[in-house]
Symmetry: C2
Subunit: 222 residues, 2 copies
DNA sequence: TATACCGTGTTGGTATACCGCTATGGTATT
DNA sequence: AATACCATAGCGGTATACCAACACGGTATA
């Protein structure tokens, strides 16, 4: 059953607004402003803000609040972190998951239409990486993967999802799964590290190139 | 400057109470009870509880709250997670830290009196592992190491800190630092994984053996 | 005696009032 | 005209009042 408490609803609305970039990175917010805008009282608004702060989507700005800016250093660090987390998760998944579970990864990849809306493609990518972590059977790896993907969501959304980059992403994922299904941990981990490293270089290059344009749109890019 | 807000003070008091085992694992709490006991209002009490929940030290219990129980599966998963995090942190530290920074790890080990109070020895162990993560220069590895050590703190505290286990811990740390100072990543990472794996087996064996005794003290052990 | 029900007290969730602090804009002074 | 100061509006932090939901104990009934 879905939580319909005010706090949960406000949290979901703010989170969606941030991740969809409807709320501008770096935008300053006041609790009383949100209270009015969201037709709720400050108590659940504050609870939602606190939770978003813990996830890195909201930050304190002096005594106030702001939507977390786009942070190149954070993006770099997150992708380095993901290399570590996912390589380890793949190793554990290979030693712990059943053939059927590993095969389900292929089904996930097949299920997504690579020419569909960018939103779906990005979410499918997130789901894939989180599912690999889940197969490791270590909840801390799952949490780390989930949190990383969430914090990277806006940056990935900004990235121009060219046909070439989509194909590259899909091919990378397929190759990883193929190695996993052969229980070839060394190859699978190497492919994952390469995949994320290429993603990192591409993302950072895109961000650097688009920096001016993003700032012109009012985005805080640090 | 230290934050002296009610929320911060309450958070610190509860956190200290939990980690020192003055508050019983599994103990049920009510917001109004804490409000009375801590001479504050529910608002900062709730904020502190929420923060502790995010750190894994407090849990929801139905609609209420409880001190996080001692969880064997969690302990196992956390130590597996730490193997991954610390091996990676060591590799990055070796490629990024200066000789002086690596030497400072030795100074940390020298500074602690292995026959001193258990509290100090445990904190020194935490500081050492977190400092290694810091030298990786990746804030997400630092956060992961910090969070893991915090969640493991009570279990480590429960462990009988015998003279033999203290010596084993110190020798393990020294060997890791020696390999790091020689920039021998492969050896250092292998030693770290072995060190944590032995810690895990020792901790889990101790917990399993003490299970009954702990439950007799009222601790929830799951 | 066993069981079904209902009243009551207590809970967490929410709304709101109050506080001290800070940032800001206008005014008075040099 | 420049600068120092002060009144004030609005902020986050805290305290408290109110609500619906739940848990529990006693009572009435079979």
């Amino acid at each position: 059953m879905t939580d319909t408490s005010q706090t949960a609803v406000i949290y979901e609305r703010l989170r969606a607004g941030i991740l969809s970039l409807d709320m501008t990175p770096g935008e300053r917010l006041t609790e009383r402003g949100l209270e009015t805008e969201l037709s709720a009282s400050r108590t659940p608004v504050r609870a939602a803000l606190t939770r978003l702060e813990a996830e890195g989507l909201m930050q304190r700005d002096g005594r106030g609040w702001m939507v977390a800016p786009i942070d190149l250093a954070e993006t770099r660090d997150l992708l380095e972190y993901r290399e570590i987390i996912e390589a380890a998760a793949i190793g554990l998944a290979i030693s712990r998951a059943t053939d059927a579970e590993l095969a389900s990864l292929d089904l996930m990849l097949e299920a997504v239409d690579p020419s569909g809306p960018g939103e779906e493609v990005l979410r499918a990518g997130t789901d894939f990486h989180v599912e690999v972590a889940r197969l490791s059977q270590n909840p801390f790896l799952v949490a780390a993967a989930t949190g990383s993907m969430t914090r990277l969501a806006r940056t990935r959304w900004l990235e121009v999802q060219t046909e070439a980059s989509r194909a590259h992403s899909r091919d990378g994922h397929r190759a990883i799964v193929a190695a996993m299904r052969q229980r070839d941990a060394l190859t699978a981990e190497r492919l994952a590290v390469e995949h994320i490293r290429q993603t990192r270089e591409h993302l950072l290059a895109t961000l650097e190139a688009e920096r001016r344009r993003l700032r012109a749109r009012g985005f805080a890019v640090v």
